[in-house]
C-alpha cells in the first residue's frame, strides 16, 4: 500500500473521530451518513480538490456541493483540518450563533460552496456551477456528493438529464450508496437499484467502486477528471456507520443521539 493511501486512511480515521465528537457535543446530528462518506470526503479534500483554504472565495477553486447536506459534520471536520477555520470551531456545531449550521450554509461557513440540506437540490446547484464554468471556459471542476435515499427525489433526475444535455464534463457526482435511509433500507422504502444503469441511461459516465477503498476512490476520481463531453458519476458502495462496528449498517444510526458512552466506545473502536 502506498504511503499516500496510508496517510489518507489516517486522515479519514481522524475525521471520523472529529465528526463523532462534534455530533456528541451537539446532542444531535447524522453520524451514520458522516461515517459512510468519510473516505470519499477525505479523498476529495486531501487529494482531488484544487482548493486554497486561505482563499475560500478563489474564483478558480474546485467546488464541492454536499447535496446530502445532513452529512456535513464530516465535511466540517475536513475543512477544519485543511485550515479553513480552527478545529475548536467544530465544537460549536448546531449551537446558536455557530458558523456550523445543522446543514451546510455557504454564507456562514468558509469553504462551504453551496447551501444544501433539502435533498435533491444540491445537484441542481452543482449543475449551475458547472454550467457557469463551461460558459466562462474556466478550468475548475464541480464535485457533488449525493446520498442514496436522495436518489428518490425527482429533482436529482431532472438535474442528471440537464448535466448530460449540456455535456458538463467538469461535473463529477459521487453517490454515497450505503443502502440505508431514515425509515429503513432503500429496498424497504423505495428501491433505487439498478443505480449505475439509471445514471448510464441518463447519459453519464459511471464508475462503481468500493467507497471505503481509498485506492479505488482516488482511481475513479482521477479517471472521472479525464472524461470529456459528458458528466461523470461514481457510485460508491459504502457502509453506513463505517469504522464503528456497533454503528455499521444500522438504520438507527442515521441520526440517533451519540451519548458520551457511545462516543468513548466508538473512538476506542476507531483507534
Amino acid at each position: 500500500m502506498s504511503e499516500q493511501i496510508q496517510q489518507l486512511q489516517a486522515v479519514a480515521r481522524d475525521l471520523r473521530c472529529l465528526a463523532l465528537q462534534m455530533i456528541q457535543k451537539a446532542g444531535s446530528g447524522h453520524a451514520g451518513g458522516s461515517l459512510s462518506a468519510a473516505d470519499i470526503v477525505t479523498a476529495l479534500y486531501f487529494s482531488a480538490l484544487n482548493v486554497d483554504p486561505q482563499r475560500p472565495d478563489w474564483p478558480d477553486r474546485d467546488r464541492l456541493v454536499l447535496s446530502k447536506g445532513h452529512g456535513c459534520p464530516i465535511v466540517y471536520a475536513a475543512l477544519a483540518r485543511r485550515g479553513y477555520f480552527p478545529v475548536e470551531e467544530l465544537w460549536s456545531l448546531r449551537k446558536l450563533g455557530s458558523k456550523l449550521q445543522g446543514h451546510p450554509d455557504m454564507r456562514k461557513t468558509p469553504g462551504i460552496d453551496a447551501t444544501t440540506g433539502s435533498l435533491g437540490q444540491g445537484i441542481s446547484v452543482a449543475v449551475g456551477m458547472a454550467l457557469a464554468a463551461k460558459l466562462d471556459r474556466a478550468s475548475y471542476r464541480v464535485f457533488a456528493i449525493l446520498g442514496c435515499g436522495e436518489m428518490q427525489e425527482g429533482q436529482v433526475w431532472e438535474a442528471a438529464m440537464s448535466a448530460a444535455h449540456y455535456h458538463l464534463d467538469h461535473l463529477i457526482a459521487i453517490v454515497d450508496y450505503n443502502g440505508l435511509q431514515i425509515d429503513g433500507t432503500n429496498a424497504q422504502i423505495m428501491e433505487i437499484a439498478p443505480l449505475a444503469e439509471k445514471w448510464r441511461a441518463f447519459g453519464w459516465r459511471v464508475w462503481e467502486i468500493d467507497g471505503h477503498n481509498m485506492a479505488e476512490i482516488l482511481g475513479a476520481l482521477a479517471e472521472a477528471k479525464q472524461v470529456e463531453g459528458q458528466p461523470a458519476v461514481i457510485v460508491a458502495r459504502t457502509v453506513k456507520g463505517k469504522g464503528v462496528p456497533f454503528m455499521e449498517n444500522q438504520v438507527k444510526w442515521h441520526s440517533s443521539v451519540v451519548t458520551k458512552e457511545d462516543l468513548e466506545r466508538a473512538l476506542a473502536e476507531l483507534n
Binding site: T115, V127, M129, L131, Q155, E158
Partner: protein, 320 residues
C-alpha cells in the same frame, strides 16, 4: 420608447436583451415557456447565454442558484404558478436562504390569463413569495414600468420575484417615470380615498378614479409595484391624509397586496380598508375580460369599494 410595447411580457423580453447587451454576466433560463414569457427574445440575440432547462422548474431554480453562486445574474422564467408553487421550496432553500442573486421573472399572473383556467391562474404567488425572507417581490403594471423595473433588478443584488401579467396593457406612464425599489409610484394624486393597486389593476384603478371624480370624490392611486419591501411610509401617509383605503389586485385577497397593506395599517394607523381581489376561490376558464368582470376586478367595482371605504370612514367618525 419609439414603438409601443403591447404588454409586460414583451417589455420583459426586450429589457432582458438590453441587459444582455450591457452586462456579459446576465444569463437566462427557461422552463419551456419562452414563447409565453418572451425570454425567447434573449435566445435569439444571445443563444450561448440562454439555457433551456426543459419542463423542470425545480431543477431550473437550482441551476440558477449555481449560476448566481458563480457570479452570473440569472433570469429564470416560467409561469407564475410553476415558479412560485412547483419550485417554491427550491426558491426558498436554494435561492432565498443563501441570498443568491437570482431573478425569477414569472409571467401569466392571475385569473386574467383566461381560457387556460384555474390550473394556470396564479392567485397565491405573492402570498407565498413575500413570506420568504430575503425575497424582493415585484408586480409591474405597464410596459414602461416593467422595462425600468427589469433594468433596476439587474443592478440590485439579491433574490427577486417579478410577477408579470399575460394580456396586452395600456400605457400608464410616460418615459419620465422614476423608479426606486421600496417606493410606491403616485399614479394619481387625491385626497378623499387611496386606491393601492398592482399589475393589471393599476389602469383599472385609474379608471375608477375617473368614475369617482365625476362623483366629486378625489381618489389617490398608488402603484404598489414593490410589494416587498412595501412602501410603508406611503401606506401610512395615505391612511393619515385620506383616512380610508382600497387595495386592488388580480390575486387572492388572502396574503397578497391586500394582506400586506392590512398588516401595515393595523399595526400603524388603522383606517377602513376594502380589498378588491379574488375572494379566496379558484378561477375558471373564460375570456379574460369576462373573468375579470365575474370576479369583480373592474374599474366599477374598485370605485364601489372606494365608496364603501369612505362610508365606513364616515360611520366611524360619526360613532366617535
Amino acid at each position: 420608447m419609439e414603438d409601443r410595447i403591447p404588454n409586460n411580457r414583451v417589455a420583459y423580453g426586450r429589457a432582458l436583451v438590453e441587459l444582455g447587451e450591457r452586462y456579459p454576466n446576465v444569463v437566462a433560463l427557461e422552463a419551456d415557456l419562452g414563447k409565453g414569457t418572451q425570454s425567447v427574445l434573449f435566445r435569439e440575440r444571445f443563444p450561448e447565454r440562454y439555457f433551456p432547462i426543459g419542463i423542470a422548474e425545480a431543477n431550473m431554480m437550482g441551476i440558477a442558484a449555481g449560476l448566481a453562486a458563480s457570479g452570473k445574474i440569472p433570469f429564470a422564467s416560467t409561469f407564475c404558478v410553476f415558479a412560485s408553487m412547483r419550485a417554491s421550496e427550491q426558491i426558498r432553500n436554494s435561492i432565498a436562504y443563501p441570498k443568491l442573486n437570482v431573478k425569477v421573472v414569472a409571467t401569466n399572473a392571475g385569473i386574467e390569463i383566461g381560457p387556460d383556467g384555474a390550473t394556470h391562474q396564479a392567485i397565491e404567488d405573492i402570498a407565498i413569495m413575500r413570506a420568504i425572507p430575503n425575497m424582493t417581490v415585484l408586480a409591474p403594471s405597464d410596459p414602461v414600468l416593467t422595462t425600468r423595473l427589469i433594468h433596476l433588478v439587474a443592478t440590485s443584488d439579491g433574490p427577486t420575484y417579478v410577477r408579470i401579467g399575460r394580456q396586452d396593457t395600456p400605457y400608464v406612464y410616460d418615459g419620465d417615470l422614476k423608479l426606486e425599489l421600496g417606493k410606491a409610484v403616485l399614479a394619481r394624486p387625491g385626497t378623499d380615498v387611496t386606491i393601492m393597486a398592482i399589475g393589471n389593476m393599476v389602469c383599472r384603478s385609474l379608471e375608477a378614479a375617473e368614475i369617482l371624480a365625476k362623483q366629486g370624490i378625489s381618489a389617490r392611486v398608488l402603484d404598489m409595484f414593490c410589494i416587498k419591501p412595501l412602501d410603508e411610509a406611503a401606506v401610512v401617509a395615505a391612511a393619515r391624509e385620506t383616512g380610508c383605503a382600497v387595495t386592488a389586485e388580480d390575486h387572492n385577497i388572502v396574503g397578497g397586496l391586500g394582506g400586506a397593506v392590512a398588516e401595515v395599517l393595523s399595526s400603524t394607523l388603522p383606517v377602513p380598508l376594502v380589498r378588491v381581489g379574488v375572494r379566496d376561490t379558484f378561477g375558471q376558464s373564460g375570456d379574460s375580460e369576462d373573468l375579470l368582470r365575474y370576479y369583480g376586478l373592474t374599474a366599477e367595482k374598485i370605485a364601489e369599494a372606494a365608496q364603501a371605504s369612505i362610508r365606513r370612514r364616515e360611520a366611524l367618525r360619526r360613532a366617535r
